[in-house]
Symmetry: C2
Subunit: 423 residues, 2 copies
């Protein structure tokens, strides 16, 4: 049996332990929701304050040049690029994940259908994050295409002759299941299908190598494992073989070759800048840059490979402790045990009370979240493990609280059954 | 002749003078660029700091509920609504102006073409802000429509049988010319044409009454006269007669009727929420709310009607002083003298050196901006007058500096002829 002392010893040996000091972690919390909103980098308050009081307050309009506001989508994009196997100049940070998906899915459909007019299907997973499905539905409707949803295990078999684009989230938001990006991309390409990857739960969480996988398009989120703050802007990458071939439909002035010439005719920028659209929320970008810098601080300590080793050790430990210490409480495991198939979260199932158990844990300072099931899939208790700042003792303590919530039955109290706007 | 003392006397009599104290205005500046980026409300640093350190840093994911993050698009939208003649619940603050234009123009085309399939033209002004034209071009291309650009004075004559939508910016960004929203809308409707209004240079600058004008769709900007900070999110309004009729194409999860049910099928929210898309940049929204609150602080002092009186007095004074004190320097006036046709800015023309004169003024602490001309229109020296915080003495001092720049010829120095990324 694993003990608390064992967990403390693991923290003592953790080569990444010092990175925790880059963050403000409320001392009363064990925060296992970094896959939903990452914690605050210690640098953020001062950096954001400077952007407000000096850059906005004093620099005013001049700061577009003097404070480098104008280059932020590219500068932050370069910092993201290193985390996802992209090259400098290939990524911009801008807009939201949903909007960036609309841009790249639109471009992907154009590329695919130019090469083969008979291809009019977008394939995705039924359990993909809903906003991806909604955006794809809307775009398919506009373009006379069809969205075909399949189960995880049926993705490769679905690569039929009429499929234009495969759109997948690399790490499933509900289960934490991880796709092999390279293998899936190869299988899709072999069938003449382009692949759009949503990296929302993988950028900063698992090693990603877009070029090695020969991916076509990718987008991702700034406020989860990249610790960019609430609603931080998202990012977009397009392989250079497709990048300059098509104009994305959200052809705002920031995607123009020369926006400050103010010409009435649209002329798209070369390179990834054509995937920009309008003026970006600078204060939110500034906070996101602090988050990206915490990821970069891991580089000298082994970078994503070291983070991945720790992430797997954390999720292994959580699974083991739940099975050792919470046995008999009806918990199941929705996350793959196979390291090659696991992201950086662990999802538990329970036929009853999952929402209330999560609420009772939150009341005890252990923050995970709940994801509702339906006829096809169970309710989920979801716990994210961000290796930058989560320790092994945190895992012990989280499981201890879970055990107490279950042993005591306190989750059955009415106060834990109230619905909230955001879950 | 108007004197400095006269201007000081006007400030002394200004019933809105106290509002200036709500802002941090760098003492060495005369800031006439609030039409590009409004100055910082004094409340912003503390409010943003609280959002960073308490709501993000401590509240973390819980703040979506406990700090009201989730309702911000609607709460801020209600604050905008009062400034543009919309009703509570009719406006959301979200995304960028360009993206919101894409949403409403798409919806407008669908409405128009359902009623009359022969209508496939979008009419706009050639000198509309380019991002509006680019978005319209892209959308027209996608939908097999045509964008027809006309001069300001030819707009009503262009309302032919094949026109689906008239898309106008109420106050022209280059000239400050103001459209009569009600008259133009009536003329368009009489011809069976829907109207999309861009309020980027009118919300907070001139009285707007969308319902009285019977407008169809409107969007606008948060970082100009609403003082929301760099790249602050934008807003969108749709008349209730069209609102629930169509799904906009950017159908992200925030526009879903029940986003936290995470269902794979899209079901649009009722009301203006269906014009949302993805997760919004909270820190930038928080700053924008501070800006909106400065507008609301004008309400007990007479609100938009009082702001409008002062705005016209400021721009009248600027025009008069330029003509009195800078005569003989080749300056022309691009802004209408007629109050009914003037926004809250004054644009001067000069056949030579406009860019360098603006740069020389900036070096002297008078911040306006330059907008390049082309074969059809002259270069512009642009000066915005935000009545919330600009005073009559500011106008005197700005013209005095302009006079000195012209009298001395210092604008001809090489340092004022360098190009910058953002102008």
């Amino acid at each position: 049996m694993t003990t608390l002392e064992d967990c403390r010893a693991l923290d003592g040996q953790d080569p990444l332990r010092a990175l925790r000091e880059l963050f403000t972690i409320p001392p009363e919390l064990i925060y296992l929701d970094g896959n939903s909103l990452g914690v605050m980098p210690k640098a953020a308050p001062e950096r954001v304050a400077r952007a407000v009081t000096e850059e906005w307050g004093v620099g005013l309009i001049r700061s577009w040049n003097s404070a480098g506001w104008y280059e932020m989508p590219q500068r932050l994009g370069d910092k993201v690029a290193g985390l996802i196997g992209a090259r400098a100049g290939e990524v911009v940070v801008t807009d939201t994940t949903s909007i960036n998906l609309y841009k790249v899915l639109s471009a992907a459909l154009k590329v695919a259908r130019r090469h083969s007019t008979g291809r009019s299907v977008v394939v995705s997973e039924r359990s993909n994050f809903p906003t991806d499905l909604y955006i794809a539905q809307a775009l398919c409707k506009e373009q006379g295409c069809e969205l075909h949803l399949v189960e995880d295990e049926d993705v490769e078999a679905a690569m039929a002759d009429d499929v234009a684009v495969l759109m997948l989230t690399q790490v499933n938001y509900r289960t934490g299941a991880l796709h092999d990006m390279r293998a899936v991309t190869q299988a899709a390409h072999a069938a003449g299908v382009l692949v759009v990857w949503d990296l929302a739960h993988s950028a900063g969480a698992v090693p990603v190598d877009l070029h090695q996988a020969d991916a076509d398009f990718a987008i991702g989120c700034g406020y989860k494992y990249l610790n960019g703050g609430p609603g931080a802007p998202a990012f977009v990458w397009v392989h250079s073989r497709h990048r300059d071939e098509f104009e994305q439909p959200l052809a705002g002035w920031w995607s123009h070759a020369a926006p400050f010439e103010f010409t009435p005719d649209y002329r798209p920028a070369a390179g990834i800048a054509r995937y920009l659209c309008g003026t970006q929320p600078v204060l939110s970008l500034v906070a996101l840059e602090c988050g990206l810098d915490t990821m970069l601080a891991a580089e000298p300590l082994g970078g994503m490979a070291a983070l991945r080793r720790k992430s797997l050790a954390l999720t292994d430990l959580f699974i083991r402790l739940v099975e050792e210490r919470c046995a008999g409480h009806g918990l199941g495991l929705a996350t793959p045990r196979d390291h090659g198939r696991r992201g950086s979260q662990v999802c538990l199932t329970r036929s009853e009370g999952a929402h209330a158990i999560v609420q009772a844990l939150i009341a005890r300072g252990v923050i995970g979240d709940f994801r509702a099931g339906d006829a096809r899939q169970p309710d989920i208790l979801r716990f994210g493990f961000t290796p930058l700042y989560i320790g092994f003792e945190d895992v012990w303590n989280a499981v201890e609280q879970l055990k107490q919530v279950l042993d005591s039955g306190e989750w059955q109290r009415p106060e834990f059954h109230q619905k909230q706007a955001v879950t």
